[in-house]
């Protein structure tokens, strides 16, 4: 044992000078921010495919009215686990992966500030999802109460696997919190000389603010699942009216976490779009300072709007008005951002390579999602839209064509830097056009289904919704298949392709482009001078 430890130390010492170790242990033991970034990104992509497969089951069942393929209980497990996997397994780890790869290169740091914790925060994640996904194969099945796990669905009426759900959420939370601490310490302490706060790339700024949001709300989520655990298994009555608790309180505590959480999943996107748009418009970003302040305002406002998810719980009118106005106020900083991106493109020398296509699609489609959010914010009409497919359409516009599109744009934009090869532009464009068309066929008609009254989270529906659901399902299958093109592009780009120069995009700005492509295993061991 002693010898092994000694050897590992010795290897690690050698690594420091000669690049990565060989074999699987490179990935298990790595403390290198680029390796860990890669692990996060692949993990996220695998989760994206698993969560996507569940979405395919959902859309296949909803292709026709009536019950064809799966039992209602299994359908509920699919919607629940799809949500959990996509939120905690696909979107959040993808952003953490991008943060790992990019933040040290963008601020001129040699690595993340806490490399060993970095390894740990990634490697607990696969176990969290192993626990969650394994519950699908257990007697009684996986969680079936929706990703929002409202009490008493998750307490009185939940399956035996609820404890596993709780522990997996605990582990995901720990991973996110450690990642967030790492990001903050890195940004605060490891900036290159001359890299002042107002020179930070916006991706770094948005991630810094996201990290504070994570630290503020992930512990509250941990508390919420703990209360569910003790209510279900240990006889407490946090949410049980019979014992003096209150099920509505669950929703307050959950959404106190839940609303900042949705900004956790979109703020880094804003940073990505703010990097891509100037590069392909060949103009500096319009209104840098206002972008920073807008991001901070969105983060602060996100703590004051949680009850807009609960307008129909019987709140007093003054509370409904307060949450309605605060929610609509968020449109102001978000509008500032959209305005700035459009102003950046205004009279720019624009070209439309794949990253730019995704960025432009993001701006248009995310704004549609923002508008449907404004409609939902209006209390009186929310009573009609609440828990219908209109809500499903809204949050998929902001999460799929918002967060996911920005992540794909980021992947195309930085792939040459990561792999040293240019990706196949033709395949990339094919992926974009297949995705952008199918995603709208998939999600746009859901607005009409919701306005017509189709409730969400149901395996069967009234026959008048049949035609639109069929169109939606076809869009869903097409969107799912289109993502395999993305997988092909990435693999092709890793294996070879045209040699990428240090700065493959003419208008790109930032320290990462001063490094050769592929970025060396250890970069900025002596910090660059930022003027």
């Amino acid at each position: 044992m002693t010898t092994t430890t000694h050897d590992t130390h010795h290897d690690a010492h050698d690594d420091h000078h000669h690049g990565p170790a060989k074999g699987i242990m490179r990935w298990v033991l790595t403390t290198n921010h680029k390796d860990i970034g890669t692990l996060y990104l692949w993990f996220s992509f695998i989760m994206f495919l698993i969560g996507g497969a569940m979405a395919m089951v959902i859309r296949a069942e909803l292709f026709q009215p009536g019950l064809q393929l799966v039992e209602p209980n299994f359908f509920n497990q699919m919607t629940t686990v799809h949500g959990l996997v996509m939120v905690f397994g696909a979107v959040m780890p993808a952003f953490t992966g991008l943060a790992n790869w990019l933040i040290p290169m963008m601020i001129g740091a040699p690595d993340m500030a806490l490399p060993r914790m970095n390894n740990w925060s990634f490697w607990i994640l696969p176990f969290a999802f192993l626990i969650l996904l394994s519950s699908l194969f257990m007697e009684g099945g996986a969680p079936n109460f929706g990703w929002t796990f409202y009490a008493p669905l998750s307490t009185t009426y939940s399956p035996d696997s609820t404890a596993l759900f709780v522990f997996s959420v605990h582990i995901m939370g720990m991973s996110s919190i450690m990642g967030a601490i790492n990001v903050i310490v890195t940004i605060v302490n490891l900036r290159a000389p001359g890299m002042t706060w107002m020179k930070l790339p916006l991706f770094v700024w948005t991630w810094l603010i996201t990290a504070f949001l994570l630290i503020a709300v992930m512990p509250v989520l941990a508390g919420t699942v703990t209360m569910v655990l003790t209510d279900k298994y240990f006889g407490t009555s946090f949410f049980d009216a019979a014992g003096g608790g209150d099920p509505v309180m669950f929703q307050h505590i959950f959404w106190f976490f839940g609303h900042p959480e949705v900004y956790i999943m979109i703020l880094p996107s804003f940073g990505i779009i703010s990097a891509i748009v100037p590069a392909f418009a060949r103009k500096p970003l319009f209104g840098y300072a206002s972008m920073v302040y807008a991001t901070a305002s969105i983060a602060i406002l996100s703590f004051l709007v949680w009850a807009h998810h609960m307008f129909t719980t019987g709140m007093p009118v003054f509370a409904e008005l307060f949450f309605m106005y605060c929610t609509m106020l968020i449109a102001v900083p978000t509008g500032v951002k959209v305005f700035n991106w459009v102003a950046t493109m205004w009279r720019g020398s624009m070209t439309f390579e794949t990253p730019m296509l995704f960025a432009v699609a993001f701006i248009i489609l995310f704004t549609i999602g923002g508008f449907s959010g404004l409609m939902l914010a209006i209390t009186p009409v929310d009573f009609q839209y609440h828990d219908t497919y209109f809500v499903v359409a809204h949050f998929h516009y902001v999460l799929v064509t918002g967060a996911i599109f920005s992540i794909m744009g980021a992947a195309y934009y930085w792939l040459p830097k990561w792999t040293g090869h240019m990706y196949d532009e033709k395949l990339g464009k094919l992926h974009f056009w297949c995705s952008v068309i199918s995603v709208n066929v998939l999600f746009f008609p859901m607005h009409f289904l919701g306005l017509a009254g189709m409730p969400r989270r149901i395996p069967d529906y009234a026959v008048q919704f049949a035609d639109v659901n069929q169109i939606v399902s076809i869009g869903g299958f097409a969107f799912g298949l289109s993502q395999l093109i993305f997988l092909a592009v990435v693999i092709k780009c890793i294996r070879g392709g045209a040699k990428a120069p240090a700065k493959p995009w003419e208008g790109a700005e930032g320290l990462e482009w001063t490094l050769p492509s592929p970025a060396p295993y250890h970069s900025f061991t002596t910090p660059p001078e930022v003027k």
Partner: protein
Amino acid sequence: MAAPGVSHRKLIIGLGLGCVAMFGFGFALVPLYDVLCEKLGINGKTRSEAASYSKVEVDEARTVEVEFIAQVQPGMPWEFGPVVKRMQVHPGQLVRTEFRATNHSAKRIVGQAIPSVSPGQGAAYFNKTECFCFNQQVLAGQDSASLPLIFFVDPDLPASIGTLTLSYTLYDITDKSLGGAIQAGAAK
């Protein structure tokens, strides 16, 4: 590298303490919620102690409709409901009504009724001088009982509220109650 203004160690400790504090805050939301709801009178919970009826003037000019609703926890073998479903009362008037509960099972069951008033803002004006909900209800197998409720509506009830709906949900707390525990002990 810029000389760090704060050491890694101090930052990590600070951020870690922030996490612990937020974990605690999640639990602090529980009492905070109860206090806010009670102070603002917003979630329809009525007081859990008896109100005293003294020096209350009856407002004969005004009539308020009071409705009674009862629900039983799914799976609990009780029948439970108001004897009178709807009545007209004057604010300040002391009114007596009753609910009936029947245990259709062969077992002794302990029930607990949880009241809620709609609209929520009306809860603070709904005063009960005597209510079965202040205590547990114990019914032996196949037994039934009438459960009294004596209440008055506060004359200060806002004019915007014309109807008060009092809803009771009955829960089976046999396993959690002291009586239930004693019974379980005796059965051994």
